[in-house]
């Protein structure tokens, strides 16, 4: 155990791939607070956030065979799982609140996409997103930051900024659309507005 604690994240993942459960415990000790902080920001409930945190690490354990250190680092992978799980949980909780007597599926058990699909290393992705964020309007950027980084809901953002709920949603959607078109390497996705109706 003491030796595992001295290993890098990627070495721990290798041990985890070889079936050493202790490596999962070390990763938990190392990143529990990071994952929990993300979950707390989004689901806002300590118990739910703890549950999301545990689920994220168990997701990592189950999907460890897919991990490739050449495509991204462990921390980014964990954060992706954390955001994905937290957003899913929030959605699930809101749906359950709406349909009080109905059981709803929580959603996907894994992130929808593999990490580093763009083929970019983490610093490159970071810089690209920063530049893309700089290209957004102040309103779009502000709404996206509050939604994604602070975990605020559209209503909370509307209350904070004084804008209407619909306007906040519009800034959010348009901002994401623009970011997507700037970041994506696929020319077809550069502008979805030009694609017409759904199939």
């Amino acid at each position: 155990m003491a030796q595992l604690k001295r290993l890098t994240d990627e070495q721990l993942m290798t041990h985890l791939q070889e079936g050493q459960g202790d490596a999962l415990a070390v990763l938990f000790d190392r990143y529990q607070k990071l994952v929990l902080s993300i979950a707390l920001r989004i689901v806002r409930d300590p118990g739910e956030a703890e549950d999301v945190t545990q689920t994220v690490f168990l997701d990592i354990y189950r999907a460890v065979a897919q991990f490739d250190s050449h495509k991204g680092n462990t921390k980014v992978w964990l954060m992706q799982y954390a955001y994905h799980r937290a957003f899913n949980r929030r959605q699930h909780l809101q749906g359950r609140e709406f349909y009080k007597n109905t059981e709803l599926e929580e959603g996907d058990t894994q992130p929808a996409v593999a990490h580093a699909t763009l083929g970019l290393s983490s610093p490159e992705t970071k810089e690209l997103v920063r530049q893309s964020m700089a290209a957004l309007s102040d309103e779009q950027k502000s709404v996206i930051e509050m939604a994604c980084y602070e975990g605020l809901s559209m209503r909370e953002i509307a209350e904070r900024t004084g804008d209407s709920f619909a306007s906040v949603r519009h800034h959010y959607y348009r901002g994401l659309q623009k970011l997507r078109s700037l970041i994506s390497s696929d020319p077809d996705k550069k502008s979805t507005a030009q694609r017409g109706k759904c199939a």
């Binding site: 155990m1 003491a2 604690k5 459960g21 202790d22 999962l24 415990a25 070390v26 000790d29 529990q32 902080s37 707390l40 118990g47 703890e50 945190t53 545990q54 168990l58 354990y61 980014v76 954060m79 992706q80 955001y83 994905h84 957003f87 929030r90 959605q91 809101q94 749906g95 709406f98 349909y99 992130p111 929808a112 996409v113 990490h115 983490s122 992705t125 970071k126 997103v129 920063r130 502000s142 939604a147 980084y149 809901s153 559209m154 900024t161 619909a166 949603r169 959010y172 959607y173 994401l176 659309q177 970011l179 997507r180 996705k189 979805t192 507005a193 694609r195 017409g196 109706k197 759904c198």
Partner: protein
Amino acid sequence: MPEPQQRGTTEHEHYEALCALAVGGLLEGEELVDSQAHLKDCGECRSDYLDLSRLITLELPQAQGAFQQKLAEMRTNPLPGSRQSFLRRARAEGVVFSPEVETPARSGPWYLRPIAGLIFVAALIVIAVSLKVHHVEAPDTARAKDAAVTQNIAELERANSELTANLSKLKQSLAMDQHEIQNLRSQLGNAATTAENLRRNGEQSSSHTVQLLDESRNQEKLLAEARDEAARSSQLRINDEASLVEQQARITELSNKLRIASATVDQERQLAAAGKDVQELMASRQLHVIDVRDTDPNGDPGKAFGRVFLTEGKLLTFYAFDLNEGSVLNTKRGFQVWAVPETAKDSPHSLGFLHVDAKAQGRWVLTVEKPELLKQIGAVFVTAEPTDGDKQPTGQKMLYAYLGEANHR
């Protein structure tokens, strides 16, 4: 509620907007149900959903300020027992842990914690100051941004006070750790001294061991030599014993031969002497040969009898036969022969004691060569006397023989 038609968006844009909200977990009510139902049927929207999911779960978080991330992380406190709860759940899911996992890990090297805290506090102060400056230099910034900055400052100040408290605790922890280090150094010093002593003792022991080994080798060499010598001596002793046995056998053989030879010589000498005596007796003149028979007090003839050969003035030989040997030997007595002079018949002279000449034949003999005495002798007789002899006869006379005149001239 969505208002796609009012915004003039297409149906796809409407669902794309719902996708963006769904990915962030921001949909509520009917919109949530509507978007989920649409996603099941529309592959293009599912693709958009995946892209947007990647954007907000992977790419956007990477662009978040590391400081904000770290701040949020530091301000997060897991629920008590969350680690144990996770381990239990993981075990239930089939994850196998070693027993060591039960011990919670420290979040980092102890000595980095105070330093990290100090650096973080300094960073907070710098950022707080810069935010305030920014606030002064840009008074016309949007109201929402000002509110956010003000809130950030308040949070940072609160974080600063928390961190100051943490710093105080860390200082205490540092002092305790330094004390622990001091103790450990002291223990290390003692251990080093002990190790040095052990090393020296080990060297001395090694030297002594080498010396003992040399001595042992010498002793073994001497022992081997002694064994060889003992083996040689043993072989020699065996040889000597064999030789001794052989010599003893030879001696025994020679002794037997010598005894036989001696006996033969003695016998021959005796025969020669006897032959000479016989020859001289047969050739002598003035020879008296008298047979004598004993009688009991009643005059009846006894068992014993004798024969006397006298060469006058020269030699007397008295043979006695069938004497009652038991009557004298048991009382330490012997048969003493007496000579009766012709001139003094009452003063017999002792001639000596008879000795056994031929036991099987019951023959006794006494030879006397006393010329002067033999010139005067008139008769001889025998008495039983103590073996040390007596001046005068005390026992009963036996085998009395009167010599008379020579009957062989």
